[in-house]
Amino acid sequence: MRHIVWKAYMNHEKEEKWLNEMSAKGMALVGYSWCRYVFEDSPKAEYTYRIELLKDLPGNAESRAYLQFLQQTGIEHVASYLRWVYLRKKRAEGQFDLYSDADSKISHYKRILYLWIPIMLLNLMAFISNGLHVLDDILHHGRVFGGNLICIVLNGFFAFLILWMIIVYLRKVQKLRAEKRIHE
């Protein structure tokens, strides 16, 4: 049976954890599109799930070669969303981690940071420019235009939400770098 769950995640590691908890309960992810998760019944804990941000879109030749390589190691490509891919491997076939050293983990986190930073800046710029508009309305025209206010709230909300996410990822990178000074 198919189950559809609507849910939004910004932290891919929390999302991964949730998918693995679902898998432990016997719900295996088989599809994903914007915030919409499709699960199918499966034996409990049949799969380990991992989420990765590819360097290019999944249709790109480089990405296809990589996904094919993963497939040869028993990793199944379940779904994609833009450059994000949802991967799984049967638990019976052993441990499943995409990255086993600090350097490759750091470069994955950096890829995610480079994805979020421009989006955060766009929202921040829109927030500031709308904010100035509203200030101008209030100070020079003595009126408050509701439409702009909604924009400000939304842009501000997203800018700070994404900023917070960026800080979370920066801290992960920092922690790995500190670890790297001692361990390989």
């Binding site: 990589y66 993963l70 040869q72 190691t73 028993g74 981690d97 995409l98 086993s100």
Partner: protein, 109 residues
């Protein structure tokens, strides 16, 4: 000849990948071999391994095997440059081990 920059230590993963390729192996074979060699201690992530293979091919330390085109699983083999890098690493590790044993293990007795 390797560039003079490359006097540094090899990573554990790179050294084990190079050692795995003294006979031809494909990606999954490398993962299994490294895990076996290290008694299950070193489990290479597929993403990490893929990146390492590409870097090592670029540096010409390993190369894809000719004639493997028909086979979907690409096999790799270590080159002479790669073997030289391993030899250099063995010298470095021996020095480390010699010093560590002399100082730390001697003190334990």
């Amino acid at each position: 000849m390797p560039e003079s920059m490359e006097r540094g230590a090899l990573t554990e993963a790179v050294l084990y990948i190079l050692l795995s390729l003294y006979s031809p192996l494909h990606g999954y074979g490398i993962m299994q071999n490294v895990s076996e060699l290290s008694g299950g201690r070193v489990v290479l992530g597929a993403g990490t391994l893929y990146g390492a293979i590409n870097t090592l091919v670029e540096k010409n330390w390993i190369e894809p095997l000719e004639g493997a085109a028909g086979n979907r699983r690409k096999e790799y083999i270590i080159t002479n440059t790669g073997k030289a890098a391993v030899a250099q690493e063995i010298v470095r590790l021996e020095e480390l081990l010699r010093n560590a044993t002399k100082i730390a293990a001697g003190g334990l007795k």
